[in-house]
Amino acid sequence: MRRDVFQAIADPTRRAILTLIALQAMTPNALAEHFDTSRQAVSKHIKILTECQLVSQEQQGREIYYHFNPQKMKEVADWLAPFQKMWEERFDRLDNILEILKTEKNGQ
């Protein structure tokens, strides 16, 4: 099946897995401990993440470590970036107006 990065992050468990390994590379066992679901289910999510290159594997001695690939994730961020920027600018201006409104209110 064709996998893409958008499909990969559509699932909350997979987003949680990415959040965990974004902080540090983890072994399958360490990762599975964070979830209530079965180990097979977690493995299946990892497989999907690997297929779309969000996650890479590295053998260290007898252990496999999963790494996060931020470059791939950037595809999603880039897609949203202009829109995000527009809203951030708007909301920053709104913050300023709210500050003024709050001051007016306290002055009454």
């Binding site: 931020p70 961020a77 920027k85 709104l94």
Partner: protein
Amino acid sequence: MASKNETKITAEKGKQELFIEREFDAPRELVFRAFSEPEFLLQWMGPSDMDMRIDKLDNRSGGSYRFVHSLRNGGGEFGFNGAIHEVAAPERVIRTFEFEGLPERGHVSLEFLTLSELPGDRTRLSIQSIFKSVDDRDGLLQSGMETGLNDGFRKLDDLLAK
């Protein structure tokens, strides 16, 4: 004053909806005013390189609005309008949104704006937009907005945190 509140935007590929979430360090009634009164809207809503004018704003259930943005260098203007389905101050607005610059009409989205009270006189704004098609949504996300993008890590966090 720079804010530490992050804007969280979620748009899953292949879906017709889009979520925007942001918190404000102000009580809900003030945030609602800033969202509904023309004098405040004019100050924050338009893109920073454009002038904004309000053609119409009948801010109540069954009302409607039309806003127009124009480029300062005279490079043209574009409007957007919609019907206001419900205004439940200070917590909810349900309305439609249509960008007038498209070659054909009818690409309307439905917007739910919700303000929730948070402890410490703070407010959370949630916007859910539902589009006619996935293409309509993706088109909006990538519409002529400036493509100034820096490193994507902050946005990455937003996406992952959802």
